[in-house]
Structure formats: C-alpha cells, structure tokens
C-alpha cells in the first residue's frame, strides 16, 4: 500500500516555462495575452475609421466607429421621448426585452429538451417512439416557422418565445440523447449490481454522465436562441434589439444598426459566459479528471 496519490504534476510533467522571455511583440503573461487579443480589433477599427473619414466607405453609407459610438451613447443614455430620435434612451429596455424573450424561450427549450434527450438516450422504447418525429421536423429551419408562428401566436411575445424554444430545443435534445446513450456500460452495471433500480440508474448514473454533452447542447442552443429572437423581432414583434435593428435600417440609421449588432454580440457572449460558469461548477469533477490524465 505504498502507492501515492496521482497528482496532476506527477502525471503530466510540463516543461518549465522560460522566466521572463517575451514571445515576439508582446510581454509574457496575462497582460501580453490581452494585448495580443486586442491587436486585431484595434487594427480593424483604426482601418475602418481611416477609410471612413475619406468618405469612401460603401459610398458613405457606412458610419465611422466614432459615429457608431456617439449613436450608442445617445441610444443608451439620451433623454427619452424626444420626437427627433425615437431610439434615444431606449437601449436598456430593448436589451431587456430581447434578453427576457431569450431567457423564457431557452428555459422552455431546456425544460423539454434535457428530459426528452436523456429519456431518448436511455430507453429504446422512448427513442423509437419520439426520435423519428424529432429527426423529421429538425431539418425545417426556424426561419421557415416564422409565418406559422405569426399565424398561430400573432404579433406578440409568444411567437418569439415559440421560435426561440424550438430553435434551442434541437441541439439540446440531440446532445442530451448522445450523452445518455454513450454512458460507460460498466457504470450502469456497477450501479445495478449495487441494487439500483432502473430509475436510480437514470437519475444517478445516466443523467450525471450525460451532463457534459448536455452543456455542449446548451451552448449551441443558446446561440440559436439569439438568432431566433433577432429574426422574430425583425418580423413578428415591435420591440427588442431585432426590431430596432430592422427599424433603424429602414430609416437609414446605419450607426444605430451597427451599435445594435455589436450589442447583440455582447449579449450573446455574456449569456454564453453565464452557461460556461454554471458548467464549470457542475462539472468540477471533470476538470480534476482532465488535469490528472
């Protein structure tokens, strides 16, 4: 009994990093990494600004970065209800409208997609009954559901939430199915020999074993949820980032259009980080595992 615990450092010897050597242009460490990451965006913005001030950008249609910034500041912090600029001061409420729809639709997608996927992966009977229908409907793009959704739900929130839930549902259900299907056979056998019922196996083995795949599905599904909210707000609802995007385009406010695009990107990134944080917490056991392998 002299075997020592396998520690990450013993298992995977990493070559010692050179002390204070910079890699190319940037200093080593976090600051250097941040500088490296910022290089490309800074260059693109600078080039865009330069090209735009000559008035040559797409025949002067595209605003320069400084004008986009100004538009966003007014959109975010300007006084509300001034007739001249309908967007003034409405950024936060539009962000919240879109976010709430994504949140509601996505919770719905999770509430149906996770249990459905785990059951399909776990039970051949459920798989045979439900999976073919899902596979049949899945190739229909969510954009193709728009007229259906408007016809059924009208121009209101439910239509958007339906599209978001549907778009998020597919990747969640598909990944959860794979996760629940690929469970190590010996884990299930071990649980059974310890007296676990079929339901115990589902809850205490299949579900935790499928979690990594489920989180993969959640992240993909969330991306689609943001696509769905923008599409449905452009067509079927009268508020939110998607509505402002299309409306601003119609009245020729390209500065607002671009500020809106960047806002959508920021929200997408933020919500993805939120899931990654939950994932890190829920899959703590897995990080330790990969560190020691």
């Amino acid at each position: 009994m002299n075997d020592a615990p396998a520690r990450a450092l013993d298992a995977a010897p990493v070559p010692a990093a050179p002390k204070v050597k910079s890699r190319g242009l940037f200093p080593a460490g976090r600051t250097g990494a941040a500088m490296r990451a910022a290089l490309l965006p800074v260059l693109v913005i600078a080039a865009w600004q330069l090209a735009g001030s000559g008035g040559s950008l797409a025949g002067g249609v595209l605003p320069t970065p400084d004008r986009v910034w100004d538009a966003w500041v007014v959109w975010a912090f300007g006084p509300q209800g001034m007739g001249l600029n309908p967007y003034s001061g409405t950024w936060l409420s539009n962000v919240l409208f879109s976010s709430m729809r994504v949140a509601q639709g996505f919770v719905l997608a999770m509430a149906i997609g996770i249990p459905a996927g785990v059951l399909i992966g776990w039970s051949r009977a459920v798989s045979g009954t439900v999976d073919p229908t899902i596979q049949l409907l899945r190739p229909i793009p969510i954009t193709a559901w728009l007229p259906f959704s408007i016809a059924v739900f009208g121009i209101q929130d439910m239509g958007a939430i339906f599209l978001i839930a549907l778009g998020g549902f597919y990747p969640i259900v598909v990944n959860a199915t794979h996760g629940a299907r690929d469970v190590d056979r010996n884990w299930i056998r071990a649980a059974e020999m310890m007296g676990a019922s079929r339901f115990d196996v589902l809850r205490r083995v299949v579900l935790p074993a499928a979690l990594p795949a489920i989180f993969t599905g959640l992240r993909i599904g969330l991306g689609i949820a943001w696509t769905a909210v923008i599409v449905s707000e452009m067509v079927a609802v009268k508020s939110g980032l998607g509505y402002v995007l299309w409306d601003a385009y119609y009245v020729g406010r390209m500065d607002v259009v671009i500020a809106d695009m960047l806002s959508i990107g920021a929200m997408g990134l933020l919500s993805d980080r939120l899931i990654v944080t939950v994932e890190h917490w829920a899959l703590r056991w897995r990080r330790l595992q990969s560190a020691s392998r």
């Binding site: 002299n2 075997d3 310890m194």
Partner: protein, 255 residues
C-alpha cells in the same frame, strides 16, 4: 450462503457469425470457497462471470445462486471490475455509499461501516477525493470497499488487479487475502496470472478457448493464512510446476 452452480451452461453471442463463448460449462462453488478462473484471453472468463453477476443471459443450461435462479444483478453478488468502474463525479465516500443509499438503508447504519472499510483499505485520508485524484491501486481498493459495504454473499472479481504494476498488485493481493480470511465470503476470481491464482485460491479452474470450457480443476492445498511472501516457497513452486504441466496437458488435448 453463497453457492454457485453451472450445469451445462452455453452462452452464444448472436451476430452474423455467432460466437460460442461458453460451451456446456459445469462448475460448482461451495459456500465460502475461493475459486480462481484461469485461462488465456478470449476463452470466456468474463462471460462466465457476467452470467452469474446477472449482466448477461445464458443461451441454455441451468445456473443457480444459493439454489435460486439468476435473472438480474444484485447486491448479494458484488462485482469488482477490472478498471474499478467508479462513478467519476462521486467522491470515494459517495462511491462506497452508493449501494446502501440506493437500497435505502439508514445512514446511521452504513456510515460507521464506511469509515471502518476506509480504514481497512487504507483510504481514510481520501474519503473526499474524486476517483480521478487516486492511483489505479487506490481506485481498485475503493472498488473492493464498495463491494464489501453491501455484505455480499459472493464476490465476483474480473481481473481486478490486471491493470496494476507488480508492486501495487502484490499489496492488493495481500489486502484481498486478509479481507477474505476475516470475512469468508465466496469468491470467484478471474485472472490470467498463474501466481495470482495459486496464491489466492482454494481451487483453480483452467479454461480453454474455442469453445470456452473448463478443462481442469486443481485444488491448491497451500496452508492458510497465506501471504505474498509465500510466492517463493518451495511448496508454492511445486504447485506452480504442477499447474503448468496440467495446462500444457490441457492445451495438447484441445489443440
């Protein structure tokens, strides 16, 4: 009670080319007996063990445990797997508690027992570690503790030390000897290591492949209690020579 009985048991894996993994196997294991199943890779050792564990169904024949039929896995036939097969998201303690907890036994009853077992296998300090933080030998000790906590009538072990280095393996063999000598559970132990079979078992069943059959049974009459020090005893060497001769003999007959 923990008797195991195979009568003319046949196991065929269906498929395009069906594999006859076991061909009319007969085997009797008595209460408290330690039987080793020895044979080359692919001869059907795991298949035999999986049948009595309830993981697989036999094709024909009769199979009984304690006189009753076997139709599903259960805690009276605890299995120790080759790669331990611990649940990676549970700590050592939670892995051992899995059985009692799904059986809805009172916590107050099994918690002291788990502490006792952790001490027995030398893992008290690792009660809250995850399996991935343990070495292979330590994981296997958790696998053994997880089986013992259920007070099984039989321990079914499928090459439990096959993946360990020689030194760890010896310490695990000694641990198993000590545990078994104090508990007296029936053990069916699969291995392809002759030394291991002689050291541990009361009786060795030698299997041959294609078709998988038990071709010889050899009683090991080394005195108990045994220890790994005996690996170099003259009596041990004599046994080994005899078994190797038997195995050659068996191979010739079935060639």
């Amino acid at each position: 009670m923990g008797t195991i009985r195979f009568r003319e048991v046949v196991k065929t894996y269906p498929g395009k080319q069906p594999v006859v993994a076991l061909d009319r196997v007969n085997l009797d294991i008595g209460e408290g007996e330690f039987v080793a199943l020895l044979g080359p890779s692919g001869c059907g050792k795991s298949t035999l063990l999986n049948l009595i564990a309830g993981f697989e169904e036999m094709t024909s024949g009769a199979l009984s445990f304690n006189g009753g039929t076997v139709d599903s896995p259960g805690p009276e036939r605890a299995v120790v797997f080759q790669e331990a097969a611990l649940l990676p998201w549970l700590t050592v303690e939670q892995n051992i508690a899995f059985g009692p907890s799904v059986q809805k036994r009172p916590r107050a009853e099994y918690e002291p027992k788990i502490r006792e077992l952790l001490r027995l296998v030398g893992l008290e300090r690792f009660a809250h570690s995850l399996p991935s933080q343990l070495s292979g030998g330590m994981r296997q000790r958790v696998g053994i503790a997880r089986a013992l906590v259920m007070d099984p009538k039989a321990l079914l072990m499928d090459e439990p030390f096959g993946a360990l280095d020689a030194q760890t393996r010896m310490s695990m063999q000694q641990l198993l000897l000590d545990v078994w000598q104090s508990l007296g559970t029936t053990v069916l132990f699969v291995t392809h290591d002759i030394d291991e079979a002689i050291l541990l078992a009361d009786r060795i069943c030698i299997m041959s492949a294609r078709p998988g059959r038990i071709t010889r049974e050899i009683t090991v009459d080394l005195p108990r209690p045994r220890s790994v020090d005996q690996l170099t005893d003259p009596a041990f060497i004599r046994h080994k020579a005899a078994i190797m001769a038997e195995m050659r003999e068996a191979q010739k007959e079935h060639a």
